[in-house]
């Protein structure tokens, strides 16, 4: 886990503010999404998959099958891409392949894997596996699963039935094609975290009147020599003692202990153009040595005179006061131990959505099957989170409507029942939603308080039974909340509970006020009786029209194109706003568990 210790609003905007690359000022969602999806704040655990099979079919006349496994990934757009192959195991119906496949676990997307087993004929046995043409081999069977299905099992092994698939046009499989067993292991590098406390001495002030508000940016250097920021410290304000709080670096974010890192010290400027004070180039191994020797390293300031790049060595020195390596339990360790994420959803039924029978309403159910904004939000979040919920029973509520005989309710069960609020699976949410549209009359106003209080009640009640459950409430709304203070009160109370709240705004309303609820963009939430939220549990994102979001994304990223495209790996596909919401969840979960010292045993 790579935590960047930043002090919220002011420090957050300041990555990469030297002349070499443009500044990122203020909330620029598209760029943040781009960077965070590529590892600057992401939680990428490396998973190693190993494979074996049982009971493969016998296709060869004279000998047993010689199976080969090919691994594919299906993207969001449905495109299937091959990502790896194992070796060929000779003469076996129950092969255990040695070749492993490593991939990054991404929490916020559904990573669909397709496995195909082929029997490699004898003439091809000496050909290199990569060169084999699959349509010349005999297809034995195929299996599909999501990566999250494998990692949420306590044994981290998933047994899948191999099916003939669409390719086996030649035979009807009367006997079973066998079983494939996929096992996942988390690479140890993902779990090793280094805690470092930096300190600076003898700060030289640039000008007589400048205050020093220093902060550090730690970057790793990639092949072209260009540094990519991986971590940022908080800004020290008004403190003569120049020691920052701990920064946590994950070995896997860095690459390896020997990878060169650049630690730059900037002076924070509220206009976003931060002055470089000096920098140091060290690897983690060098920092460890600095710590044990207690010595400091002089900062240098790169100056160019003519054709030579000379470095002006400054008096200021950087010290490493603390260097602690620890193996922390990762998110996947908690999952393997039986911890789960319980998904809950609340849908806005206020009149501002428009009459559901008219096509311009946000609640219009398109007969052609194209999902409306509400359905899209539920599907996108639900299909990722459903794997982390063991019983697949999701509480679903609506608010802001009048059920058939009754006053306006700000928290009614979507399934129409008065006793229980749960529905079965994502399909259950969809069906309950569509039937609720027929049975309630839209009203108002938009109040979140009752729904949040209800979710908090469920979360706190579950604590009596087990501490293994973490709740995620998805609120989909088209308008600005009316009871801002009551919502804040409910959120402050809920901040002490195992609950995270994702708010998705649909439609064209101006959601500026809603951003107050997301502490990333403002101050900590304060309730009406003086209590303050102890952690940030709310995230808000407007679900803009896909077209305009893509346009915004491309325009913002255009001028980063040159160096970003060459240095950062291109993952491909669009990044949706909802993915950025989900990407924060494992961190919120881990923070909650770690501060309360709840560990997987």
């Amino acid at each position: 886990m790579g935590n960047c210790c930043s002090d919220g609003g002011s420090g957050r905007a300041a990555i990469g503010a030297t002349a070499a690359y443009p500044t990122i000022d203020g909330p620029n969602d598209a760029v943040q999404l781009f960077l965070s999806a590529r590892g600057c704040h992401g939680l990428f655990s490396q998973i190693e998959l190993s494979f074996s099979a049982l009971g493969l079919r016998d296709r060869d006349l004279c000998s047993k099958s010689d199976p080969l496994l090919v691994i594919y990934v299906r993207g969001r757009d449905g495109a299937v891409q091959e990502v790896g192959r194992t070796e060929v195991v000779l003469n076996s119906f129950n092969p255990t392949w040695i070749t492993k496949h490593t991939m990054a676990f991404q929490f916020e997307v559904v990573q669909t894997l397709i496995f195909r087993v082929y029997d490699v004929d004898t003439p091809f046995h000496n050909v290199e596996v990569k060169m084999l043409k699959l349509d010349e081999q005999q297809f034995l069977g195929e299996a599909t699963c999501a990566l999250s299905q494998i990692v949420t099992k306590s044994s981290r092994s998933l047994t899948l039935d191999l099916v003939p698939g669409t390719e086996a046009a030649d035979s009807v499989c009367s006997q079973s094609c066998g079983k494939l067993i996929v096992h996942a292991e988390e690479c140890i590098g993902s779990k090793t975290t280094t805690e470092i406390i930096f300190r600076c001495s003898d700060f030289e002030h640039k000008t007589l009147f400048s205050r020093s508000d220093p902060f550090l940016v730690i970057s790793k250097i990639v092949e072209n020599g260009i540094p990519i920021p991986i971590c940022k410290s908080e800004v020290i304000k008004n403190d003569p003692r120049l020691a920052w709080k701990s920064v946590f670096l994950n070995i896997q974010q860095v690459g390896s202990k020997d990878s060169p890192l650049v630690i730059e010290c900037f002076n924070f400027n509220s206009n976003g153009k931060h002055d470089l004070v000096g920098k140091v180039q060290k690897s983690l191994v060098d920092l460890e040595r600095l710590h044990s020797s207690g010595q400091g390293e002089n900062l240098f300031y790169p100056t160019s005179s003519g054709n030579n790049y000379q470095n002006k060595i400054l008096k200021s020195q950087l010290f490493v006061d603390t260097f602690n390596e620890s193996i922390q339990c990762s998110f996947l360790d908690y999952l393997a131990e039986g911890f789960e994420l319980n998904f809950m959803v609340a849908i806005d039924f206020t009149a501002s959505n428009g009459n559901p029978r008219l096509p311009d309403s946000l609640h219009y159910i398109d007969p052609s099957g194209h999902p409306n904004a509400y359905q899209r939000a539920v599907l996108e979040v639900g299909e990722v989170l459903q794997f982390y919920d063991t019983d697949r029973r999701f509480p679903a509520w609506g608010f802001g409507a009048r059920p058939i005989d009754g006053p306006v309710s700000h928290c009614f069960n979507l399934n129409g029942s008065s006793n229980y609020c749960e529905v079965e699976g994502i399909q259950g949410i969809m069906m309950a939603y569509m039937s609720a549209l027929l049975n309630v009359s839209l009203a108002g106003p938009t109040l979140f308080g009752p729904v949040i209080t209800n979710a908090a009640l469920l979360a706190s009640q579950s604590l009596a039974n087990s501490w293994h459950k973490y709740f995620v409430l998805l609120i989909i709304t088209d308008g600005v909340v009316t009871d801002l203070q009551e919502t804040k009160d409910a959120l402050v109370k809920a901040s002490d509970l195992p609950l995270s709240i994702l708010i998705v705004g649909v439609g064209g309303a101006d959601f500026k006020e809603m951003e107050i609820l997301d502490a990333d963009k403002g101050d900590r939430l304060e309730s009406s009786n003086g209590r303050v939220a102890s952690r940030d549990i709310v995230q808000f994102v407007p679900l803009r029209d896909v077209q305009s979001e893509l346009l915004l994304y491309y325009i913002s990223v255009w001028w980063f194109y040159c160096f970003l495209v060459t240095t950062l790996p291109f993952v491909g596909g669009e990044i949706s706003a909802i993915q950025s919401l989900l990407a924060e969840l494992p961190t919120q979960f881990l923070t909650f568990m770690r501060t309360r010292d709840i560990r997987p045993s």
Partner: protein
């Protein structure tokens, strides 16, 4: 759908038992004196019923964002509704200069649906001597000793003062006699 009855019961229950709390004063944020951020020497005092109960060490270097992370054992006497956290700055005279104070209602961590030994992380707005907002204090609280008579939060309480309380498990609205009792609300009781 706010269920206010639960918090009232918690209020009564919280005030009746002599409990021991493990209160960790973690840190303070944005502490100022006369509008200027303080440089050092902040410390926190925990008071119950206006009597000082425990004090943290002084953070000599922390500036306006002091970090104590000090675990204190606080005895919660009978009928205590609030714990007061005062953040002061050490001065040469002995009695520190008051930066701000916050009242933590005991019902924020006792009563309710969370289990008895749940570690609560709470943060409160500090207000200075004239009532202006002045920073935030972060604490964590865990109830150390279990409640007497093995009563759980879900069972009915037997108040000492002979007042009928409503059984929280009873979903029916009417049918039970309830006598009103004046309750001290946080904002009314806040120190002058």
């Amino acid at each position: 759908m706010m269920n206010n009855r639960k918090s009232d019961d918690g209020f009564e229950m919280a005030s009746m038992s002599n409990r021991v709390l493990e209160l960790t004063v973690i840190s303070g944020e944005d502490l100022r004196i006369k509008g200027k951020p303080i440089r050092n020497n902040a410390y926190a005092i925990i008071k119950t019923n206006n009597v000082p109960n425990a004090t943290t060490k002084v953070d000599q270097e922390g500036g306006s964002y002091p970090y104590w992370d000090e675990k204190l054992l606080v005895d919660l006497p009978l009928r205590t509704f609030f714990i007061t956290v005062e953040v002061r700055r050490r001065t040469s005279s002995g009695v520190g200069q008051l930066i701000g104070a916050a009242s933590i209602p005991v019902s924020d961590f006792i009563g309710g649906y969370t289990p008895e030994n749940y570690l609560h992380f709470l943060s409160y707005r500090l207000r200075d001597a004239v009532g202006e907002r002045n920073g935030i204090v972060n604490v964590s609280v865990r109830v150390k000793s279990p409640a007497p008579y093995g009563c759980s939060t879900a069972s009915a309480t037997q108040p000492e003062m002979g007042i009928q309380s409503v059984d929280p498990g009873d979903g029916r609205a009417g049918g039970t006699v309830v006598t009103g009792m004046p309750v001290c609300f946080p904002h009314a009781c806040r120190s002058r």
